[in-house]
């Protein structure tokens, strides 16, 4: 694990796409903060890692998918995407299966990420 990233805001995402609006709400909060110049990092825990899978699509009723939003994060200078390594392996997901580039974290690095951000929002 290289340096623990620091920042103003850590947004924790714990829900996958489509089942509810937590993921979109969390990403929205991250984008608002970034639009106002905050240094924002994302931490994907548990089912939140499903948000990162390639080949996601819009919902059966035409609900927007989250992949375009994830790809847009870089335009908001949100570059730090931390992903719980165990949550990936529990689901048989490899880093190559993800649609954006991420940093894997586990164990103490997760607590470290929380400690090194001024604010935390949990979604």
């Amino acid at each position: 694990m290289n340096d623990i990233p620091e920042g103003d805001l850590l947004v924790i995402l714990r829900h996958g796409p489509h089942g509810n609006s937590w993921l979109r709400e969390g990403l929205d909060a991250a984008l608002v903060a970034a639009a106002f110049g905050q240094r924002v990092s994302l931490l994907f825990l548990g089912e939140g890692v499903m948000a990162l899978l390639k080949d996601q699509q819009e919902g059966p009723l035409g609900q927007k998918g989250t992949q375009p939003m994830l790809e847009m994060l870089g335009m908001y200078d949100i570059e730090t995407l931390l992903v719980d390594r165990r949550a990936l392996s529990e689901r048989g997901i490899e880093v190559d299966d993800l649609c954006v580039s991420v940093s894997l974290v586990e164990g103490e690095a997760i607590a470290g990420a929380l400690a090194h951000h001024r604010q935390i929002l949990n979604f």
Binding site: I12, R14, L45, G46, I110, A111, L114, I120, N122
Partner: protein, 96 residues
Amino acid sequence: MILHILNRSPSASRVFQQTLDAMGPEDRLLLIEDAVQGALPQLVRYFEPVIGRLFALREDLASRGLDGRCDSRVMVVDVDGFVTLTEEADKTVSWF
């Protein structure tokens, strides 16, 4: 030090595991709402890693008839104690 606040029972939801994973060595955990069931001696094992830093909210215990049934290693605080815990923490994180 971060105050983590959990409101789901460990016997109904696995959110407690994420909470524990995210806790640093000095962080504290406060059980509120349904999570206070985790203060029972039969369920407190889920919180073994944070014994000594584990709190439960008295008002939520009392409303469930659990005040007095808590494991002795759980520190019971009332709402004023909740406020104090919040003041002592750098920040708080809610898990739900």
